[in-house]
Amino acid sequence: MRFTIWGCRGSLPTPGPSTVRYGGNTSCLEVLLENGTVLVLDAGTGIRPLGVELLERGVRNIHILLTHLHLDHLEGLRYFAPLFDERAKLEIWGPRSPLFSLRQRIVRSFSPPLFPIDVRRVPAQVGFHDVPRHPWTIDGAVLSAELVAHPGPTLGFRVESGTSSVAYLPDHEPALGGPIAHRSRDWVSGSSLAEDADVLLHDAQFSEGEYDERIGWGHSSVGDAVAFARSSGARRLLLFHHDPSHSDDVLEQMQAQARDIATGEDEAPALAREGMVVDV
């Protein structure tokens, strides 16, 4: 399978001259399976250009998997071009909630005063699904979703196709359960999703100093991202969910810090970058 990063910024879109190398769009990952099926992980602002391209490519059946409904993971959905194409069929998957259905929760962002068009007027066929509690299959790929440590119901995903696997945990604070290196793998939030994954895209929003001031905000430091990758046995770590206040230069300093911490690992951690294409 192949994945393309359409957005890897956290919290808020951050366009401008200081973010051109790693991008300013918020979370969105396209996973293209070998049979042509497209899975879209999260609907941050990166999903807008992806939608335009999918229509150009003639892709009409699309699965969108939402880790959670914080705005930076949802705000692009309203501008996703296939929604406004009556030939398109979208299946939207997301976390369970004890009170409201996924549709009810998403519709809030499709309603005045936040948005002028009601979701009922969208021409595409749209289905809403709570993720199953056990792995499930979409067109030959096996997907797993688990609740992970982040405020509100939040999922991490694992996609397996053939012998390849990608784990996606863009918003995750595993250190909230205690120091990662001191715990067995089964006591680390999200670890089964990332276990021995070929590629792990993981939250690394903060430097160590920033994290100390933001414990409980739901995000990881660079050091915790490396520790989580090491604990879970993931082979390649991509640092994801870049803080809006971090310029490209700051991100590269954080990457250097991650590589120092990860000394001895087979593959050095790298920054996720908008436009990055990875074959797994």
Binding site: P98, H134, L147, G177, W187
Partner: protein
């Protein structure tokens, strides 16, 4: 292809919560397996969690020989932990146990179920109160 599962997030957070409490606290999963007890509970279990590791239901309940304050044996189902596990509701009770060192102790115990969702029971928390 089934992904091996880590502990449910609710249990992970419950463990971290318990590990920061000075009150003896046990964490049990949905099958009755003792998956964690904190440092304060070592006084009751008489061992550290590092020594015992996880214990199946019969191995952690039986040694306590729980009985009423009138010394009548109490089946697990009538204990707060049994009520929380099998009936999935909170319970509180005073009763008598024998610690691993043979010392009899009167204890007050609160147990309550953990639901990740209304229909997703993931375990219980058991708290021992000193009276």
């Amino acid at each position: 292809m089934e992904t091996p599962r880590h502990k449910h997030l609710v249990l992970i957070l419950a463990r971290e919560f318990a590990s920061n409490l000075a009150t003896p606290t046990l964490i049990v999963d949905d099958e009755g397996r003792l998956v964690f007890f904190n440092e304060a509970a070592e006084e009751i279990v008489e061992r550290t969690f590092a020594e015992t590791g996880e214990l199946p239901l019969d191995e952690w309940v039986t040694p306590f020989a729980p009985r009423s304050l009138e010394s009548e044996p109490l089946p697990f189902e009538r204990l707060p932990s049994g009520i929380a596990l099998y009936e999935r509701r909170p319970a509180h009770e005073r009763f008598r146990i024998t610690s691993v060192d043979g010392v009899e102790r009167d204890v007050a115990v609160t147990a309550f179920p953990l639901f990740a969702h209304a229909d997703e029971f993931v375990g219980i928390v058991i708290i021992f109160w000193r009276e």
